[in-house]
Amino acid sequence: MKPRYSADTWLALVGLGFALLVIFVWVPLDTGTGFVEKVRRRYTIGDALGPTVAAIVIAVGAVLAWLRPAQSGTLTRKNLVWMARLLALFALCLLIMRYAGPLAAMGMEGGYRPLRSTAPWNYIGYLLGGTIMVGGLTGLAAGRFSSRDFVIGFACALVIALLYDLPFDGLVLPPNGDV
């Protein structure tokens, strides 16, 4: 059965909805000045005009996509599942990257903060998170997880960490600028 609405029609509806939301809700509530402002007795363009014009451009594009739909790809359920898998993997990796170092240093005096620029502490989060990211992504793409991919992931994370950390004193690896 032919779907009632094409992918471009859905895109147009989403685009139009977003543009209307920006023009009538977001811009009025979230900008400091209007379309035109009078400053020192001279008129200048205010902060609301630019985003409104951008939203109008989106709306025009949406209308054109609606009127002239093209044979094009669409976002399928499989794509959404793939995005959810990626998002879950990234959330896991970045959480590990962020908290592995502080957890490992819990028993140390003063915690992780004084140690965050000292080897091996500064590598713990990055190596763990990076290893899982590379190994996990390779496994997701291949459809099966193998220890070999995680070993390659560890080697890559180590090389990248050393590439940044050894020659440059001023650079910090993730997540050491945040902790």
């Binding site: 200048t44 985003p51 014009v53 499989k78 793939w82 590379v134 793409a141 994370a157 600028g177």
Partner: protein, 525 residues
């Protein structure tokens, strides 16, 4: 100071840069970038812009933000840009897998040549044609960019410049991708993203009171997210779904196959025609090298059908003329693409986006009409440092060309092995490297999350066949467009019709509407 003083100063800036192991650092950087570019181009799944994106934060970490950093960093990026164009032909010829999208047409004749045992000849033809097309394009760039910039500076005032930016964005949104509507949505999203937390009021607009957005969207995070991560997510899913076809392996037994003598002189008309086509296409912002390669190939095919002798092979069956036409066309885009960058400050393709990002990040060089102003707006005797840098940049391009002519062909034959690196292993490493580069530059996990957000946006755009390039270019130009419009509005005494009062500005606006109308009328593909 006259023009020649700037030319000589630009060349000296390259050849007298700080030496490392006795060699000027800028020359070393061009060499490094060029070799890396060939390797990257020869690796299916990687592309020049990807390598430029990953290299940029590392280069900035090495060289810092001083004006002395500009030429080594830009030299490296230009080296990558040129190397990747040449390298893209390697897997196209050897494995029937284009290393870069614009090398697809190279597979049509390059791979059949390899199957006939003529892989080495095919690579030589590709290298010669690519180097010739690239050199021609650079000459045109050097001749055209300064004059175009001077004309723009002489004839265009603020309203006309605002109108020209609108025309450029309309053109890019219309010609890239399959659907005008989607191109315009992509452009609108880029403009909108550029507006977040910018503006003149003390309150950072459109930030939803989120401190994470108060500083605006990091430029590198948005661009790398949409261009690199989006592509990585899509490519990994394609591998997951088995969309990557089995890799063809060429027959390498040359002794059992016909060997043809390579007549490079016979190829010159095809190379010349394609170089002109590629240069014209490249000078238009947004029109990519893939179209140039297609036009170069089809034009050569028509010419070949008229001229070929009875024993000659058909196009698509291993005609060296097909390889030559394609490679000359796609390589001649790279130099010409910098014409709008240097003369107007408008990036025309992804590689140009990263060059502008480098100039923007380091500072001291604002591409646009003022670059080629003698005296730099100070006085007739003053040296314009931006013009010196521009000629330094041209010098690095010719250094890269010289490397291409001398060692490019040899290195090209060595990197054939790169095509065997599995994408499923390579792309996650690229992703980790990109996220690390973003973190090192921004020192915030929020920037990493923002990059991932834009990565998913880029992925969705690719899945629905919406080109991410108008988004990126509008994101880069959005601030400039708004600032120019503000100044034009103020300069014309708050005239709301400032875009329509001058004949030139009005012409640009009419052309912008016309190009969109033309895009709508052309058959949807």
């Amino acid at each position: 100071m006259g023009l020649w003083d700037h030319v000589i100063a630009g060349m000296l800036a390259v050849f007298q840069s700080d030496p490392v192991l006795g060699v000027p650092i800028t020359l070393l950087m061009v060499l490094g970038g060029f070799l890396l570019g060939i390797a990257v181009g020869a690796t299916p799944g990687l592309a020049g812009p990807m390598a430029m994106a990953i290299s940029l934060p590392i280069l900035i970490s090495i060289f810092g933000y001083s004006s002395d950093a500009l030429l080594p960093v830009l030299g490296f990026l230009i080296g990558i840009m040129k190397g990747a164009t040449v390298g893209g032909a390697v897997p196209a010829i050897l494995f029937n897998t284009p290393g870069t999208p614009d090398a697809f047409m190279t597979t049509l004749d390059g791979y059949p040549m390899a199957q006939r045992g003529e892989a080495r000849q095919a690579l030589r033809v590709a290298h010669f044609s690519s180097a010739a097309g690239d050199t021609f394009s650079d000459v045109v760039l050097i001749l055209c960019a300064p004059f175009l910039a001077i004309m723009v500076e002489s004839y265009l005032d603020l309203p006309e410049k605002a109108a020209l930016l609108i025309l450029s964005l309309a053109f890019i949104a219309t010609v890239i991708g399959k659907s005008v509507g989607k191109g315009i949505i992509s452009m609108g999203l880029g403009l909108f993203a550029a507006m977040i937390a910018t503006g003149e009021d003390f309150y950072p607009r459109l930030t939803l009171d989120q401190p994470a957005l108060a500083e605006g969207i990091p430029v590198a995070a948005a661009i790398l997210g949409v261009l690199i991560l989006g592509e990585v997510f899509k490519a990994l899913e394609d591998i997951h779904r088995g969309a990557q076809g089995p890799r063809a392996v060429p027959r390498s037994d040359e002794t059992h196959h016909e060997k043809r003598r390579l007549g490079l002189r016979r190829l010159l008309p095809y190379i010349g025609r394609s170089a002109v086509i590629g240069t014209c296409i490249g000078a238009l912002p947004g029109v990519g090298s893939t179209l140039a390669a297609t036009l170069g190939y089809t034009s050569a095919k028509r010419h070949y059908d008229r001229k070929k002798a009875s024993g000659d092979r058909e196009f698509g069956e291993g005609a060296p003329e097909g390889v030559a036409a394609t490679e000359a066309a796609n390589s001649s885009v790279s130099g010409a693409n910098l014409i709008p960058v240097l003369s107007l400050g408008i990036p025309g393709n992804a590689a140009a986006v990263f060059l502008i990002l480098a100039m923007d990040s380091i500072g001291g060089f604002n591409p646009g009409p003022s670059v080629f102003q003698l005296g730099g707006g100070i006085g007739d005797d003053a040296m314009n440092p931006e013009m010196v840098l521009a000629f330094g940049l041209f010098t690095t391009m010719f250094v890269a060309n010289a490397l291409n002519w001398t060692i490019g062909g040899v290195f090209m034959r060595w990197v054939g092995v790169m095509a065997r690196v599995p994408k499923a292993r390579l792309l996650p490493i690229v992703l980790l490297l990109t996220l690390t580069a973003i973190y090192v530059q921004e020192t915030s996990m929020i920037a990493v999350w923002i990059t991932l957000f834009f990565g998913f946006l880029g992925y969705i755009m690719r899945r629905i066949d919406m080109s991410p390039l108008p988004f990126v270019i509008a994101f880069i130009l959005g601030g400039n467009l708004e600032a120019t419009a503000r100044r034009a509005f103020a300069a014309t005494g708050a005239d709301p019709f400032f875009l329509f009062n001058s004949p030139i500005a009005l012409t640009f606006i009419v052309m912008a509407v016309g190009v969109v109308a033309w895009g709508i009328r052309k058959p949807a593909s």
